[in-house]
Amino acid sequence: MVENRPIVTFLSHLVLILGVLIIGFPVWMTFVASTHDQATMLRSPVPLLPGPYLFENYRQVLVEGFGRGFSETPIWVTLMNSMVMALGVALGKVAISIISAFAIVYFRFPLRMWFFWAIFVTLMLPVEVRIVPTYGVVADLGMLDSYSGLIIPLIASATATFLFRQFFLSVPDELTEAARVDGASPLRFFWDILLPMSRTSIAALFVIQFIYGWNQYLWPLLITTKESFYTVVMAVTRQSNAVDSAPSWNLLMAMAMLAMLPPVLVVIFMQRQFVRGLVDTEK
C-alpha cells in the first residue's frame, strides 16, 4: 500500500465482502432449499435459513433418486458416472499429451511438424461447433451409451500438449546428454527423469481437466440414452426441466449441491494447482 487511508481500505473491504456475498448467494439459497421439505419450498417467499430436512433430502436423492414416476436412478449412480468420466478425461488427456509432447520435442522424424500442426488445429474447434458430425462418427463406431464414448472423443487436447512442450523445452539439455552418456534409453529417460520433473505441471493440468470432464454437459447429453450412463450434471438439468410438473425443489437443489460439491472441493483444496493450471493452459 502506497499511503494509508483507512476510509479507502474500509471501502475496499466493503466492496469485496459485497462481491463475495453476491457470488455466494445462489449457492446459499440452493443449500437452504435442500434442507426443507417440499411444502415449505412451495410457499412464497421461500425461507432464507436452513431447515431440518437436510439428512432426509440427501438420503432420498442419493439412494432412491427423484422418485414418483420421474427419474428412478439414484444420484449415486450418476455421481459415479461423472467420476469415471472426469477421471478418465483428466488421466487420458495427461497421458496422451505428455507422450506426444515428448515425441515432438525429443525426436527428429519425418512428418514431425505435420503432426505438430495437426494437433495445433484442434485447439480451434470446441466440441460445440462440430457436434452433429462428431455424434455421427461416435454412433458409427458403436460407442453410444458407453464410457469409452463419453471419454475418448474428449481427450485429444492441444492445450495439454502445448503445456508439456513448453515445459520440456525448458528442461536443460545437459540432463538429456548425461542420460545418453550413461546409456539410458529414451523411455528410461522419460520415465526416470522427465516424468518426475513434470510433477507440478501434471498436477495443475489434472485439476483443470478433472473440472472440465466433470462439467461436460452437451457431450453426455448427446451420446447417452440409457439412464445408467447419465452424468450428474445431466441428471440435474433434466430434473430441472420437469420441476414445474413435480415441484420438489428441495430434492432438485440437493441434487444440484451434490453435482457441485466434488469439483468445488477440488478447487478449494487444490487451489494452488488450480490457479497454476488455469494460468498455464489459459483455458
Binding site: 475496499s12 515425441a103 484442434t122 452433429v132 452437451l218 440435474v236
Partner: protein, 293 residues
C-alpha cells in the same frame, strides 16, 4: 525453439504420437470434414437421399432473417457477458489487490464458481428467478417489477447473461489479480510522491499496464460467451422464449438435432468454425507478443 540434443529412434516417436494423432483424426478431422461436406449437400428429411447443392445451404442461411437475428443476438449477448463480467471482476481484483489483510481469504472465496458446471449454474439462477418460488423474483415483485423470464424475452436474456457472468467471474478475477500484482510497485509509489491520488494512479498507470491482460480476457470472454454458455442456455431457457436466447451455438444444436436440418446445421457449423478460427488467431497473435521464451 528446438532441442539441440535429441534421441535417434526410428519407430518409437511414431508410437508415442500415435494415440493423440489417431484420436484427433477420428474425432476431429473426420467429423470436421463431414461438416464441410454436409454443408454443401441437401439431405432428404426422410431417407438417405442427398444431392450436391453447391452453396445453397449457405445462401439460404444468409437470406434467412432468423439466422441474422441469431447473429445479432449472439453479438449482443457476448458484448454483455464480456462487459459486465470484466467490469465486475476488475473491480473485485483492484480491491483485492489493495487490501493487505485477508487478500488470500477473499481469493479463496471468489475462485470456486469456476468449478460449477454451466448447466448447474443455469439451474441455480433459474431457481432464484423462478416466477413462482424464486426469492429474487419475489423481491422484485415486492418493489413492483414483474420478473418472469419464461414469458419476457429481454428478462430471459438478462438472466442468461447474469448466470454466464457468475460462472466466469472467478476466471477473470484471477487473471486480473495476477496482472495487477505484476505491476511494479515503484511506478505507483513514484506517482504517489508526485501527488497523484488513487483514482488518478489507477487510470494513468494501472489501467494502461493492465490492458494486455484486459485484451486477452476480452477474447477469452467472447469465446466463452459464444461456445461455453451452451449449458446455461439449455438449463434455463432452451433458446426461448421465442428466439430470445437462441444464440448461434444453440441454434446449431436446435436445427441439427431437434429440427433434423443437417445441411443447414452443418453450414452453420462451418460459419462458426470460421469465427472460432479468427478469434483463436487474434488470441495467438497476442500471446506470441506477450510471451518471451
Amino acid at each position: 525453439m528446438e532441442k539441440r540434443v535429441t534421441f535417434n529412434e526410428r519407430f518409437l516417436p511414431y508410437l508415442l504420437v500415435a494415440p493423440q494423432i489417431i484420436i484427433t483424426l477420428v474425432f476431429f478431422f473426420w467429423p470436421s470434414g463431414q461438416a464441410i461436406w454436409q454443408s454443401v449437400l441437401l439431405e432428404d428429411a426422410f431417407g438417405g437421399n442427398s444431392k450436391f447443392v453447391w452453396f445453397d445451404n449457405f445462401s439460404h442461411l444468409l437470406a434467412d432473417p432468423a439466422y441474422f437475428a441469431s447473429v445479432r443476438l449472439t453479438f449482443v449477448f457476448s458484448a454483455l457477458v464480456a462487459a459486465i463480467g470484466l467490469a465486475f471482476s476488475l473491480l473485485l481484483a483492484v480491491m483485492a489487490d489493495r487490501v493487505i489483510r485477508g487478500a488470500t481469504a477473499y481469493k479463496a472465496l471468489l475462485v470456486w464458481p469456476y468449478a460449477v458446471a454451466p448447466a448447474v449454474a443455469g439451474v441455480l439462477w433459474g431457481f432464484l428467478f423462478n416466477p413462482s418460488v424464486g426469492i429474487v423474483a419475489w423481491l422484485l415483485g415486492g418493489i413492483g417489477i414483474e420478473f418472469n423470464y419464461v414469458i419476457s424475452g429481454n428478462q430471459a436474456l438478462l438472466l442468461v447473461v447474469m448466470a454466464a457472468v457468475w460462472n466466469h467471474v472467478s476466471y477473470n478475477f484471477l487473471f486480473f489479480l495476477a496482472g495487477l500484482q505484476s505491476i511494479p510497485r515503484s511506478l505507483i509509489e513514484a506517482a504517489a510522491i508526485d501527488g497523484a491520488g488513487p483514482g488518478r494512479r489507477f487510470w494513468d498507470i494501472v489501467f494502461p499496464l493492465l490492458s494486455p491482460t484486459g485484451f486477452f480476457l476480452l477474447v477469452i470472454n467472447i469465446l466463452y460467451a459464444f461456445f461455453g454458455t451452451f449449458g446455461v442456455i439449455d438449463a434455463l431457457t432452451k433458446g426461448g422464449p421465442g428466439q430470445a436466447t437462441n444464440i448461434l451455438v444453440y441454434k446449431v444444436y436446435n436445427d441439427g438435432f431437434r429440427g433434423q436440418d443437417l445441411g443447414g446445421s452443418s453450414a452453420q457449423s462451418v460459419i462458426l468454425m470460421l469465427i472460432v478460427i479468427a478469434l483463436t488467431f487474434v488470441q495467438f497473435r497476442f500471446i506470441e507478443r506477450r510471451v518471451h521464451y
